[in-house]
Amino acid sequence: MKKDVLLCGVGGQGTVLASKLIAAAAMAEGNTVHSAETIGMAQRGGSVTSHIRIGEEIGSPLIPFGQADIMIAFEPAEAVRNLGYLKPDGIVIVNTVPVRPTTESLHPTGYDGVEMVEYLKKKATCITVNANELCAPLGSSKFFNVAVLGVLAASGRLDIDGETVKKEIMKRVPERFVESNLKAFEIGGTYACN
């Protein structure tokens, strides 16, 4: 398999765990994987990305523009910011709930994500997910990072078995959070089917 997956969002949304789980699951199925993360000052509420590159013979740790097969966007404006990475026939899985920058409270521009989602739909194949609705049964939208992997698995765009992802959740998530994260993964899968 050769796939490039880009995750993007805002520092604090849990993109790093989601990226590690995808990479681990792809490796568990025998693939060679490379990835790269944003770490450091940007984690304090700035824009963050994770690049995951699955397949042999890859040079750059970062996905070149126009080459990502899948973009998982945790925030609509971040999806647009990184859209250049997507292949013309790539797919975007996007959370429609905006994260408003702090500057938005001080100097409101009316940013609500709607225009971004409309633009994404115009430009690419999209699976739109409302993280608040999706995660309502879990009590916190913080589980979106794992729930969205359920959406990804069910989309059939990444050739990785859902059971493999679940095994990696059990291995990599602190014990007391395993159950809720497995539930989040299941919920994501069901959502995608509806």
Partner: protein
């Protein structure tokens, strides 16, 4: 062998363990911090591991161990090398017995640094070899090589990954068994280990004769490599830029691609051989035009008629980081290729909101800055910042960082402002880790020279920005030992700071009163704002807004906490972000913000 999926920094750590490293010392700094953290998580019996108080201390601890024949690894970010430059410059003359590898991680962009300095150039300045890995896999192998070369030539060597290598992940096959090297121990010999002008001269002559020999040796080194194509146009690359070029040129195997893994001493013989038949060279690298300059020198020395394209010619940007995309554009132009347009046209995209990093919701630094701001309202004052999360205190609406230069500089700069403007009150904000790293001497300077300033120590009991490393004030060290906490108050008392307040910044009224009192008092005063980092503490509770809110937005306009948002044109609290710190409820003029306490307030104990 076991297969591990690790970050580049993890690969460096594992490579050092497999090479039998005995002593590892460093100071946290993005993008280098995870090297020491990885070593602490893997078996490391017989290895002394420490977060030193700063990079200079780390270099000196390691130097003595290397004099004794031990293998040592020193880690830091590139600006840390400036702090450690004093011991390193001398160490380059003295040399070592055991292998000494100094990792200095460069940060093109810069992504989380003050400068875009280039460790390769620093190596030449020190006259010591430097290794430049292009990927985590290569870094893992190269670290072992670096130890071998260090011992072969009895010299410390630099190892410089960049952010995209440090923070890239790859699978590494790690040996299951490794053990720390057996070493002889220190053998006294003052003619070798005591630096005097005479020894320096002798060794300088030796070094200048030796380095061309190392360059010859490097000409056969496995990571100075070529694809052996025979084109007239060649591409030279180093570091992660090589990876970008390599990926692009996979479709053009006829183009000659040369990788420089050891920029200094430059592998001249290897390069001259590769240049046979070449008429033009493009250098793709980040930071300084280092390889490019080496080629200019080489072509000048040997009167070679080869054109060079790169940073000097404007083909490669002189500043900032390269990317797969920027390199693709550069190569397309250089090779005269047809523009492959695969990315979509986004010129019609809506305006994307900017998202500058901010202090976390509930961060106690916000309260500390706000207390000083309130207390000094209407008075002339200068606020000197420093390096850490609290540099973000510069953002609106706090706007409380007038200067930020380098580690510890805020304390001494506050004194400089006092000497040129005695009307103004001067404040220095410094974190607890930075205070120990390079703040203490600045306080002594203020006391000795009779300056007037208020030191504000923002004590959150951790090194937050780089990932919550322990430091001398936390009572834990990297050997897993519980040690006596070094008490900042006692340190300041011992120096002779007469007026020291310890306040909880979240108790706003008390904090403001302490600042007012200090501003009125002449001399050197200190306020320790003590409150734990919210990123590693359980939230105290949640704030909520009741019906009496008049929507004046004072809370938002005064403190700019990310948890304060506008929803349906009304001020609201984002429950996912709020930690219940209560600062906003103290600012609300009508008492509309209430805080509910959650049960217990214990530390989560790390991430």
């Amino acid at each position: 062998m076991s297969r591990e999926y690790v970050m580049g920094n993890g690969a460096i750590a594992l490579g050092a363990l497999v090479a039998g490293v005995n002593v590892v010392a460093g100071y946290p700094g993005t993008p280098s911090s995870e090297i020491i953290e990885t070593i602490s998580k893997y078996p490391h019996e017989g290895v002394h591991l420490e977060w030193s108080v700063n990079e200079k201390a780390a270099m000196e601890v390691a130097a003595a161990a290397a004099y004794s024949g031990a293998r040592v690894l020193v880690t830091m970010k590139q600006v840390g090398l400036n702090v450690a430059a004093d011991p390193l410059m001398s160490l380059a003359y003295v040399g070592v017995k055991g292998g000494m590898v100094i990792v200095s991680a460069d940060d093109p962009g810069p992504i989380s640094s003050q400068t875009e300095q280039d460790t390769r150039a620093f190596a030449e300045f020190c006259r010591i070899p430097v290794f430049d890995p292009a990927s985590p896999e290569e870094a893992y192998q190269m670290i072992g090589d670096a130890f071998e070369y260090s011992e072969k030539y009895k010299t410390p060597v630099l190892f410089r990954p960049t952010t995209r290598v440090c923070h890239a992940y790859a699978s590494i096959d790690v040996a299951d068994h490794y053990e720390a090297k057996k070493y002889e121990g220190f053998v006294k010999d003052s003619s070798r280990w005591v630096i005097f002008p005479r020894l320096s001269l002798t060794n300088h002559k030796m070094i200048e004769a030796r380095n061309p020999e190392i360059g010859k040796d490097f000409s056969g080194y496995r990571y100075n490599s070529s694809n052996h194509a025979t084109s007239q146009k060649a591409v030279f690359a180093s570091g992660v830029s090589y990876a970008y070029v390599y990926e692009f040129l996979k479709d053009y195997p006829e183009v000659k691609l040369v990788k420089i893994g050891t920029p200094y001493p430059f592998p001249e013989d290897f390069v001259r051989k590769e240049l046979e038949g070449v008429r033009e060279v493009l250098c793709v690298e980040e930071l300084s035009p280092y390889v490019e300059n080496q080629l200019y020198r080489l072509f000048g020395l040997h009167h070679l008629d080869v054109k060079i394209f790169g940073k000097r010619s404007g083909h490669v940007p002189g500043a900032g980081e390269n990317s797969a995309d920027s390199v693709a554009r550069i190569l397309t132009e250089y090779l005269g290729l047809e523009n492959k347009k695969s990315a979509m046209d986004l010129s019609d995209a809506p305006t994307i909101p900017v998202r500058p990093p901010v202090l976390c919701a509930g961060c106690p630094h916000r309260a500390s800055f706000y207390a000083v701001k309130q207390a000094m309202k209407g008075q002339k004052a200068y606020f000197c910042g420093d390096i850490g999360c609290y540099t973000l205190g510069n953002a609106m609406p706090l706007d409380m960082v007038d200067t930020c230069l380098c580690m510890g500089a805020g304390i001494t700069m506050a004194q400089g402002f006092h000497w040129v403007d005695k009307e103004a009150k001067t404040f220095a904000f410094v974190g607890d880790s930075t205070f120990f790293a390079s703040g203490m001497t600045g306080v002594v300077n203020a006391l000795y020279n009779g300056a007037d300033m208020t030191l504000c120590v923002l004590d959150n009991s951790t090194t937050a920005m780089t990932g919550h490393q322990p430091h001398p004030g936390t009572g834990r060290n990297m050997m897993g030992n519980i040690v006596d906490k070094i008490d900042i108050v006692k340190v300041l008392e011992g120096m002779g700071v007469a007026r020291i307040h310890v306040v909880d910044p979240l108790k706003l009224e008390e904090a403001v009163a302490a600042v007012r009192e200090c501003a009125k008092t002449p001399g050197v005063k200190a306020i320790i704002f003590k409150s734990p980092c919210v990123a590693i503490t359980k939230p105290a509770g949640k704030a909520c807004i009741n019906d009496s809110c008049i929507n004046c937005k004072k809370c938002i306009n005064e403190i700019g906490c990310p948890a304060l948002i506008i929803e349906n044109d009304k001020v609201a609290i984002d429950p996912a972000l709020c930690t219940g710190c209560g600062l906003c409820s103290r600012i609300c003029p009508v008492g509309a913000i209430e805080s509910t306490k959650s049960s217990g307030n214990s530390s989560k104990g790390g991430r």
